[in-house]
């Protein structure tokens, strides 16, 4: 059972206040039947890898405030770990997961091929940014998070303005990066770089002698520690959160496009509390959830709620890997990375 912390309550209160100020009203109609069904189920097991601990904690707190009577149990581990867990549960006929949220669309393609997802159409679907409104024509999975991959840098340096400039030679020995073999976000970034610039990009990148860690957040750590000054495949939201905390770090939206990797969510067909799972997933598109996201520097999932700093998707250049052939593209990108970079 997730407990409400004072901090979460404050943030939810602030979110509601901001929402009211913006003239956004919670959509109450239409979900009462689902709420009743979810309440009858009594609890909900979230298996989430999208969003860091603080943000998901606050989302749960806001959900519990909006829908009392449903206990929320959170298993927050890395995306691939929660997915492997669900697959083990499926293999052993012991599915506990009611809502899966990971950063890899391939998980959902596989679950779909196994007929292991439960379809639903979010009541607030029309509020989702149009580009991500219909990820799956059968409604088996939906957007759960918008993750932007950009360049981050120590506040004391200018840093590169584009991916091309980053590998141009001016930042040799200064770059930190995660590994596509360990992180879904970094893998998506590698696929995107190969698609946009070809293999030469990886060769030029390797020539800059980057420090390779595991996760995309490792670049933030290296910059804050002073070990490197520039982060490639850097997490937009997390970097801004660290900046807001007072750390000397900032982000640069690359002029040759930020890379967008969607967090996806779905409900397992054998979920023990499917209605509660759906209620939570639909709650992600509510104004309350959007405000929690904005407060934590995450892009909101509603087109009518601007991000922190007043940004929105239309104002930035972004690129997303096409879903077709992504499995092969990811495997190939990891192989090339191992051959060329590390």
């Amino acid at each position: 059972m997730q407990s409400m912390t004072r901090r979460s309550l404050l943030s939810v209160g602030a979110a509601a206040g901001v929402g009211a100020a913006l003239g956004i009203r919670p959509a109450l109609a239409g979900d009462s039947a689902l709420y009743e069904a979810a309440k009858a189920e009594g609890e909900l097991n979230l298996y989430w890898g999208s969003y860091e601990q603080k943000t998901i904690d606050e989302l749960i707190a806001a959900f519990t405030a909006r829908y009392p009577g449903i206990g929320v149990n959170l298993l927050r581990q890395a995306s691939q770990t929660v997915y492997t867990r669900l697959r083990l549960e499926m293999d052993n006929d012991a599915v506990q997961c009611d809502s899966l949220g990971t950063t890899n669309v391939l998980h959902y393609n596989e679950l779909k091929s196994l007929d292991a997802l439960r379809p639903y159409k979010p009541a607030a679907a029309e509020m989702i940014p149009e580009a991500f409104r219909t990820l799956d024509p059968d409604g088996l999975f939906h957007v759960g998070a918008i993750s932007l991959i950009c360049i981050n840098r120590s506040a004391s340096v200018e840093g590169p303005k584009s991916w091309a400039e980053m590998v141009g030679g001016g930042f040799a020995g200064e770059i930190s990066c995660g590994s596509p073999a360990h992180s879904g976000d970094v893998a998506h970034w590698t696929v995107a770089m190969l698609a946009k610039f070809g293999e030469d990009f990886l060769r030029d990148f390797a020539a800059q002698k980057p420090k390779i860690g595991q996760s995309s957040v490792d670049s933030v750590t290296d910059i804050l520690a002073g070990e490197r000054t520039v982060g490639a495949s850097a997490p937009y939201s997390y970097t801004l959160t660290q900046k807001a905390a007072g750390n000397p770090i900032d982000v640069t939206m690359p002029s040759d496009d930020a890379i967008l990797n969607l967090g996806i969510t779905g409900i397992p067909a054998k979920a023990p509390h499917p209605n509660a799972g759906q209620l939570f997933n639909e709650f992600l598109y509510s104004p309350e959830a959007s405000q929690v996201l904005v407060a934590n520097n995450w892009p909101s999932l509603r087109s009518d709620v601007p991000w922190a700093g007043g940004l929105s998707l239309d104002q930035i250049g972004w690129y997303r890997n096409p879903a077709e052939g992504l499995t092969e593209a990811m495997a190939e990108a990891i192989e090339k990375w191992k051959d060329i970079v590390a």
């Binding site: 059972m1 298993l75 083990l88 073999a181 390779i212 804050l224 660290q242 007072g246």
Partner: protein, 580 residues
């Protein structure tokens, strides 16, 4: 070694029902805890990850692809170096603390236990802050001091990894060997002295050989630690692109689609390596006697080192406290007390918020603290009970298949936690067990993982107790179980408490075995801390690490108070220099 005469099979059950009841229970427990999950791992290893069909393909891939066997070679190198260094440091350290008049012995003992309590991946985080080539505080200090341009230390190397693994593995060797030295009687040393041996010769020809079972177990456990540690190589070797077995396994699980069955096959060579180590141990120790606890009054005597050697010894003994506790925890403490750690130790950046958050505000951390302490306490107790009984059966050869029980109890430790986690998942999720999501499953996995330590410690302790004492009890009519309970067990008390700590502490530090078994309600501290690290929240990582350390230390201190600072039966005599 002395063996009991084996009674004829006929009539045994009628004459000694309790004995057979214990044997049956122990065998059943080992089958459930070890054979069943390991059987699943073995079964899985012969299946294809995508088609789920029976195959030898996983093994074929493993031996034909250099990218898969190179990590095994790297791991062997890492493990051997870790075992070597932790023996070279741990054994003299134990001797200095247990048998000499070196100053600050209590402090060194306490600090070495503190190092033991620290999960090594947390130590690695501390050392990244200290010795990252460019920004590590020690390197910055070095450059400021000398005006040099390069770095003094680079933690992101194999040497750095061996160093960090070794300093957190020394306490294993230390605890085992110090316990053996604590227990040792001085009659044999006195005999050597009477015959004219000097104190150093006595030490080399009597004291050290008598403690050699503990050295060997220490070496083997350190080797296994070096093979199975995940966090340290994951943090320190990734930048150089060097893979070891555990990081390669993590890759199998992190890639899509995950290669769980290949990972199972990947562990099998490790089983052979461990079996080899324990076989060598048996060959070396099997026929020799190491009885240190007889029926006579015992006392230990400390060797007077002399003024200069005392302080030299102290300087050597400070290696572990300084490198494994003081430096990394100073770094972590600084981070945990920062509002934003990237700002560094400047005014206005100090806060206790992260501790308030960890202890008072965050329900998840509070629950994980309770879970960790509770599960580790229960698991360590069950583990010791089972390990000691198996050791007793096996050492006293109470029945002809006793060695098999010993082998079973030894097996799980080499299986890296993440694979064992899947073995337990497969074994206990389906009916009739259905333990998935419950604390029972997490505790059972902890018991199985650390049973080899309990068994080894039990064996070492039993090897030190003369069977004459048991024979005396038997000769006045006591049965085997009564003899064990009233003679053997009380004599083992110190060994049992050390053993309990040797199991309790690694459970508190264990990272991987719980990974697929914990549920939101049964989460433990290490998985939580690792998740915070995964999310990049270093202040939270540092604060919860300090809390974990403090919680474990409290339990360790309580346990030591319970037995009155180790060997309470031993009447220590004042320091003498009689042998000189």
């Amino acid at each position: 070694m002395t063996s009991q005469p084996r009674p004829a099979l006929s009539g045994i059950i009628g004459h000694n029902l309790p004995r057979w009841l214990v044997l049956t229970l122990v065998t059943l427990a080992l089958l459930l805890l070890v054979a069943h999950p390991l059987g699943w791992i073995l079964w899985n290893s012969f299946h294809d990850d995508s088609t789920k069909e029976l195959t030898l393909g996983n093994y074929q891939r493993m031996f034909t692809r250099p990218s898969l066997w190179i990590p095994i070679v790297n791991s062997l190198l890492l493990a051997f170096s870790v075992a070597l260094f932790s023996t070279l440091i741990g054994v003299p350290l134990a001797w200095l603390v247990a048998r000499t008049d070196m100053p600050g012995r209590g402090f060194i003992r306490a600090m070495t236990m503190t190092a033991f309590v620290t999960p090594s991946f947390i130590g690695a985080l501390g050392w990244i802050l200290l010795a990252a080539p460019r920004a590590g505080w020690l390197n910055v200090g070095w450059r400021n001091l000398t005006g040099a341009e390069g770095q003094l230390l680079d933690i992101y190397t194999m040497t750095g990894t061996i160093f960090v693994c070794a300093i957190y593995t020394v306490p294993y060797t230390f605890a085992l060997v110090a316990s053996a030295f604590d227990e040792m009687a001085v009659e044999l040393e006195d005999a050597a002295t009477t015959l004219g041996a000097g104190k150093w010769r006595t030490m080399l020809s009597i004291t050290v050989p008598l403690a050699s079972p503990a050295f060997l177990v220490g070496f083997i456990l350190s080797f296994i630690q070096g093979m199975t540690l995940f966090g340290v190589p994951a943090f320190l070797l990734t930048p150089s692109g060097t893979r070891v077995v555990t990081t390669q396994l993590a890759e199998f699980y992190q890639l899509f689609p995950p290669e769980i069955f290949l990972a199972a096959a990947y562990c099998m060579p490790l089983l052979i390596v461990t079996a080899g180590l324990f076989w060598i141990r048996r060959r070396i120790l099997g026929r020799r006697q190491f009885t240190t606890i007889g029926g006579k009054t015992r006392r230990t005597r400390r060797i007077a080192l002399g003024a200069r050697a005392r302080w030299l010894g102290f300087a050597f003994a400070m290696i572990v406290p300084v490198t494994a506790v003081i430096l990394p925890f100073a770094a972590l403490l600084l981070v945990s007390l920062s509002k934003a750690w990237g700002m560094g130790p400047v005014s206005g950046n100090f806060t206790l918020d992260w501790y308030r958050w960890a202890l008072l505000e965050n329900g998840e951390t509070q629950r994980a603290i309770v879970n960790s302490l509770l599960y580790a306490g229960i698991a360590a107790s069950v583990c010791m009970l089972l390990g000691v009984v198996v050791a007793y059966i096996s050492e006293r050869r109470l029945f002809s298949g006793a060695a098999i029980l010993g082998a079973l109890a030894t097996t799980p430790i080499i299986i890296p936690g993440i694979v064992l986690s899947v073995g337990f998942f497969s074994a206990y999720t389906r009916p009739p067990f259905g333990f998935y999501g419950s604390a029972v499953l997490v505790i059972a996995a902890f018991v199985a993982t650390f049973l080899p330590i309990a068994y080894s410690q039990g064996t070492t302790t039993i090897k030190g107790i003369s069977p004459d004492l048991e024979r005396a009890a038997r000769s006045v009519g006591a049965g085997e179980i009564r003899t064990f309970l009233s003679i053997t067990a009380p004599l083992m008390r110190t060994g049992l408490v050390s053993g309990w700590l040797l199991v309790f502490i690694p459970i508190m530090r264990e990272l991987s075995v719980a990974i697929f078994l914990v549920s939101p309600k049964t989460n433990v501290m290490t998985t939580l801390i690792y998740n915070y690290k995964d999310g990049g929240n270093y202040e939270a990582v540092a604060a919860t690490s300090v809390v974990l350390l403090a919680g474990t230390l409290v339990i360790v201190l309580l346990a030591r108070l319970l037995v009155g600072q180790g060997s309470r039966r031993t009447r220590k005599t004042p320091t003498t220099d009689s042998a000189a």
